[in-house]
Every structure is written in structure tokens, then in C-alpha cells.
């Protein structure tokens, strides 16, 4: 007879959050991505302190310069410091990506919850509307919109948010519909819980995982969308740097100043990549069927 030498586990109650965190931790790439994104965010936030150049300081005697000790990444066609613009551009690109996603999530969850909870005619009408709007490519609508009303950063965030909630609404609605019939919900209802309580304390927490993952992917989409819109010239005003519009005129100077084309693109790609890795890892970590 052998004796067990291991001690009793002291934490036999582990909250779902801790479980998720532990599973997330196993994804090395995602952890690296978090670090990368945090660094990017901090760099963008503290841009004024990190670069002596303003985001629009032109130096017309020094155009398309290669990297030097004064300009670590060189200058662009108007003599503006590339690194400085990259940092300030990060502010716009990252905040657009993030805040537009927050708006989308709010609207999407609200609509999905209402449709999924009340079901019936309300659900029908709402989902028909969602399906209808989903048939239009968002970029087209945004392009037409922004071609007409010249947007600024805030407007871009708002409209990107307003055009991006459809997918999440569908998902939330689906989850609500299936959770509604589960025992714990039925029991709560029988005990007299009203709609707000049911939604807030019982249904939403169970959908939280899917919501978080979808929001992360939405952030990635917004980053790319903002980049594309700015590149085409229909995003933020051209004086405001973003990673997208830094590329608009960069192609003409490729042979003499390749960094102008490579740097903003690589930065954008890395940011999106990081968000995608995190999203994947979150999906693994929060998936109850794992």
C-alpha cells in the first residue's frame, strides 16, 4: 500500500475567470501580443514625450531623408519625421480601433439581447433588419458616407462603431435564445425575476465569453478598415497622421525611401496580428466546450 504524498488542493473552488486566465496563459503568442500592444499603446499615449517633433512639422529642406541620428526612421515627402508621425498615428489608429469596437459592442449586445430575450415578432423584425444590413459591404457604405461628409477622428469612430454591430447582435441573440430555455433561467423566472435582472445577472454573464472574443475581432477589423479608409483618402483629415494615410503617397518614393512604405504597413500588420492572436487565445480560454 502506498501512501499519497501530495497534499490536499487548497483551492478547490476556482472561479471561471481564473480558469480562463490559466488557459490564456498557455498561449505564448498571445502573451507576447499583449505585451506588444501595451507597448504600442503606451508609445502612442506618450507620443509628445517620446519625440521632439510635432506630428505636422515640415522640414522642406530635408525631404525623404534616410534614417539618421536626428530622424531615426527618416522623413517623408514633406520632411516630417516618420517616427513621430508613427507614434501620433498610433494614437489615432489604435483609438479608432478600440473605441469604435466599444460602440459596436454596446449596440450589438443591446440589440441582440432584446431580440434574443423577447423572441417572437421582435426577434423576427430585428433579425430581418440585421440580415438586410449585413448584405451591404460596410466599407462601401462608409466610403460613400465619408466621401460626402468629410469626417474627423470622432466621426470616424462613431460611424465605424455604428456600422459594426451587426455580427455581434446575431451572436448574442443566438446565445440568448438557447440559454433562455435552460433550467437556471426558467427557475429564476419562476422565482419572479424580471427581465432586467434575468438579462443582467443570468444571461449576459454566460454570453460574456463570446462577446469578448467578437469584440476583439471587431477591433482588428476596425484597425484594418480605418487603415484602408485613410489610405484611400476618405478617413481622418489628411493633416492628422494615421498608419493608413502615411501610406497614401508613400508609393511614389519607394525606390528612394522604401521605409516610408514599409514602416507604417508593418506596424499596422503587427498590431492586427497581435489582436488576432489575443482573440484566438481568448476564444480557446473562454470556450466552455474546451
Amino acid at each position: 500500500m502506498s501512501q499519497t504524498s501530495s497534499s490536499l488542493p487548497t483551492d478547490f473552488f476556482v472561479s471561471p475567470t481564473r480558469v480562463a486566465w490559466r488557459r490564456f496563459r498557455r498561449h505564448k503568442l498571445a502573451l507576447v501580443s499583449v505585451v506588444v500592444l501595451v507597448l504600442m499603446g503606451l508609445a502612442a499615449l506618450f507620443a509628445p514625450m517620446l519625440t521632439p517633433y510635432g506630428m505636422d512639422d515640415q522640414d522642406l529642406f530635408n525631404q525623404n531623408a534616410p534614417p539618421s541620428s536626428e530622424h531615426w526612421l527618416g522623413t517623408d515627402e514633406l520632411g516630417r519625421d516618420v517616427l513621430g508621425r508613427l507614434l501620433y498615428g498610433g494614437r489615432v489608429s489604435l483609438s479608432v480601433g478600440l473605441f469604435a469596437a466599444v460602440i459596436s459592442t454596446t449596440i450589438g449586445v443591446a440589440v441582440g439581447a432584446v431580440a434574443g430575450y423577447f423572441g417572437g415578432a421582435i426577434d423576427n423584425v430585428l433579425m430581418r433588419l440585421v440580415d438586410l444590413l449585413l448584405a451591404f459591404p460596410a466599407i462601401f457604405l462608409l466610403l460613400i458616407l465619408f466621401a460626402t461628409i468629410r469626417p474627423n477622428v470622432t466621426t470616424v469612430i462613431i460611424y465605424l462603431g455604428v456600422f459594426g454591430w451587426l455580427y455581434l447582435a446575431r451572436i448574442v441573440r443566438g446565445e440568448f435564445l438557447s440559454l433562455r430555455e435552460k433550467d437556471f433561467v426558467v427557475a429564476s423566472r419562476a422565482l419572479g425575476a424580471g427581465a432586467p435582472r434575468l438579462i443582467w445577472r443570468h444571461l449576459l454573464p454566460n454570453v460574456a465569453g463570446a462577446i469578448i472574443v467578437t469584440t476583439t475581432l471587431e477591433i482588428a477589423f476596425n484597425l484594418l478598415a480605418e487603415g484602408t479608409l485613410s489610405f484611400l483618402g476618405f478617413g481622418v483629415p489628411p493633416e492628422v497622421p494615421t498608419w493608413g494615410n502615411m501610406l497614401t503617397s508613400a508609393s511614389s518614393t519607394y525606390l528612394t525611401a522604401p521605409l516610408l512604405t514599409i514602416v507604417p504597413g508593418v506596424t499596422l500588420t503587427v498590431a492586427v496580428l497581435a489582436v488576432n492572436f489575443i482573440g484566438d487565445a481568448l476564444r480557446d480560454a473562454l470556450d466552455p466546450h474546451g
Partner: protein, 318 residues
């Protein structure tokens, strides 16, 4: 089976009507409305503005305008381009062929590359090839289409000088047909194709791995079938059924990607048309393109369902 078909088509009709209505609403909700184009021209007097209003039928009550729009749409009349004074359908038809060439080639390229990559990853799971392909897939997913296009253009055309960097033809009047000038179509097609190769190859890989562990594959091997046949005839066939839906779902990507790609490579297609008209605010054309793309997406989804139903005998009898 026929019931399944017709149900899907009939169900799509309200969707199509809805698309038309939404486009109409969108156009009129824009500040300045359909007349925004004329707002700032010189020599524009209030009289002229009024006359234009009447000419365009904008003095009628909105429901009447909507009715006319829908009626015209049903007959294929998308209105007239304000700038060019020609029917929108004419303007669009001119540009359909180039875009069609581009998108078809891009989809074909992507399918072929994804098949190669996906099958290799599945067969040699966890090998270097598998990991390398996965890595490329991730990067491809994260890279903005316009940047990829730019980099391809700059690298292969400008730097290496291997391929031309813009335009579909060598000059006015020299377009010799559908299959000519392949060197011009390669870069834009590649740009579009690489956007989906990543996710498609991973999907094929997963699908193949699921099928390869099934019992009927084991049976095939036990029967003594050569491995090649086992893979090609049995595994692939079954693994590819859901792949069809994936292709259909990604069609919107090709539509929006075409706008950027055609702009970068000066490709004279519908995407370029869209981009060019944005600046001039020629709303009838923009609305035509919008309706066309939405309808295409709806049709693609229906097609995906139908093909899936046709390929998978288990669904036929539902």
C-alpha cells in the same frame, strides 16, 4: 430538392427589395441628397436648381420617388449617371469584364494555393511545412489588402521590374481579349488571392483532418486502395463540401478588396469606377454599384446553400 431551391429563392425576394429600399434611403439621407453634385457649381442659380429638381423628379413626394426607383430597378434601369449623362447600367457594364477577369482569376488562384497548402498541412501535420503555412496564414489575415498590393507592386514591378505595375492593357485600343496580357493581371490577382489563402488553407486543413480519422477512410485503406486514391477520392471529396460555403462567405472580401486593388493597379474595373465616382459624388452610379454588390452577396449566399445541398447527399432529403 426543388422545394429546397425554390424556398431559398423566394425567401430572397424580400431581401432584394429591402436592399433596394435601403439604398434609396441611404442616398437621400446623405447631406445634400442626390443633388449634392450641383450644390457648389459656379453659375448655379436658384432657378436652375429648381429646374434640376423637377428634371430629376425630386419634387414628387418621397413615396412616389421610392416607388419609381423600385419599378425602374425591377426593369434593370438604374437611372442615369449625372456626370456622364448615360444610363448607369451602361457605365457599369463597360467595366464588368475587367473586374470579372480579376476576381475569377483571384478566386481560382486562391483555391489552388489553399488546396496545396491545406492538404500539405493536413498530411504532414505539425511538420515544419505545417507551421510555416500556419504562420503565413496568420500574417496574411492581418495584412491590409492595400498594403499587400502596394508591396507587391513596389517590389515586383518597381524594384525588380519583372512585371508591369499598372493598367490592364498596353495602351489605348490594344486589348486583345480575355486571356491576353497575363503579366498585367498577375499582380492584382495575387493581391486579392493572398488575402483569403490563409484562412482557406487552414479551413481545408481542419476539414481534412476531421475526415481522415473517419471510419470510412480506414475502410478504404483496409480495402487495399492506394494511399493516393484514398486521399484524392475519399478524403478530399468529403472535406471539400463545407469549403464551398467558406468561399461563398468570403465573396464580400473580393468585392471590397477589388476597390482597393483596382485603385492601386489602375485596373479599369467596377472597383475603380466606385472609387472614381466617390470624389465626384455621382450618386446614381454609386447607388447602382451598392445595389449590385449587395445583390451579389445575397446571391452568393444562396448559391453556397444550393451547392452545399447538391454536393452533400444527406441534405437532399430534408
Amino acid at each position: 430538392m426543388r422545394a429546397y431551391f425554390s424556398r431559398r429563392f423566394i425567401g430572397a425576394v424580400p431581401l432584394l427589395i429591402g436592399i433596394a429600399v435601403i439604398s434609396f434611403v441611404f442616398m437621400h439621407a446623405m447631406p445634400g441628397g442626390p443633388r449634392a453634385l450641383y450644390g457648389k457649381s459656379r453659375g448655379m442659380t436658384d432657378e436652375r436648381r429648381e429646374q434640376i429638381r423637377v428634371n430629376m423628379g425630386l419634387d414628387q413626394p418621397v413615396p412616389v420617388q421610392l416607388g419609381k426607383w423600385l419599378l425602374n430597378l425591377a426593369q434593370g434601369d438604374l437611372g442615369d449617371s449625372i456626370i456622364q449623362n448615360r444610363p448607369v447600367s451602361e457605365v457599369m457594364l463597360e467595366r464588368v469584364a475587367p473586374t470579372l477577369r480579376l476576381v475569377i482569376l483571384a478566386i481560382a488562384l486562391s483555391i489552388v494555393l489553399a488546396l496545396v497548402a491545406g492538404i500539405s498541412s493536413a498530411l504532414w501535420r505539425y511538420s515544419f511545412i505545417d507551421h510555416a503555412i500556419s504562420a503565413l496564414a496568420f500574417i496574411g489575415l492581418a495584412m491590409p489588402v492595400f498594403w499587400l498590393g502596394l508591396m507587391l507592386q513596389l517590389f515586383f514591378a518597381v524594384q525588380l521590374g519583372w512585371l508591369p505595375s499598372a493598367d490592364m492593357t498596353d495602351g489605348p485600343g490594344s486589348d486583345p481579349g480575355f486571356f491576353a496580357n497575363l503579366d498585367r493581371i498577375i499582380l492584382p490577382a495575387l493581391t486579392l488571392a493572398l488575402g483569403t489563402v490563409g484562412s482557406w488553407s487552414r479551413y481545408i486543413r481542419t476539414s481534412m483532418l476531421e475526415v481522415i480519422n473517419q471510419d470510412y477512410i480506414r475502410t478504404a485503406r483496409a480495402k487495399g486502395l492506394r494511399e493516393v486514391l484514398v486521399i484524392m477520392r475519399h478524403t478530399l471529396r468529403n472535406a471539400l463540401i463545407p469549403f464551398v460555403t467558406v468561399v461563398a462567405i468570403d465573396i464580400p472580401f473580393f468585392l471590397t478588396g477589388a476597390v482597393v486593388t483596382e485603385k492601386i493597379f489602375s485596373w479599369p474595373g467596377l472597383g475603380r469606377l466606385f472609387f472614381d465616382t466617390l470624389g465626384s459624388r455621382d450618386y446614381p452610379v454609386l447607388m447602382g454599384l451598392l445595389v449590385y454588390s449587395a445583390v451579389l452577396i445575397v446571391l452568393a449566399n444562396i448559391l453556397a446553400d444550393l451547392v452545399y445541398g447538391w454536393l452533400d447527399p444527406r441534405i437532399k432529403y430534408k
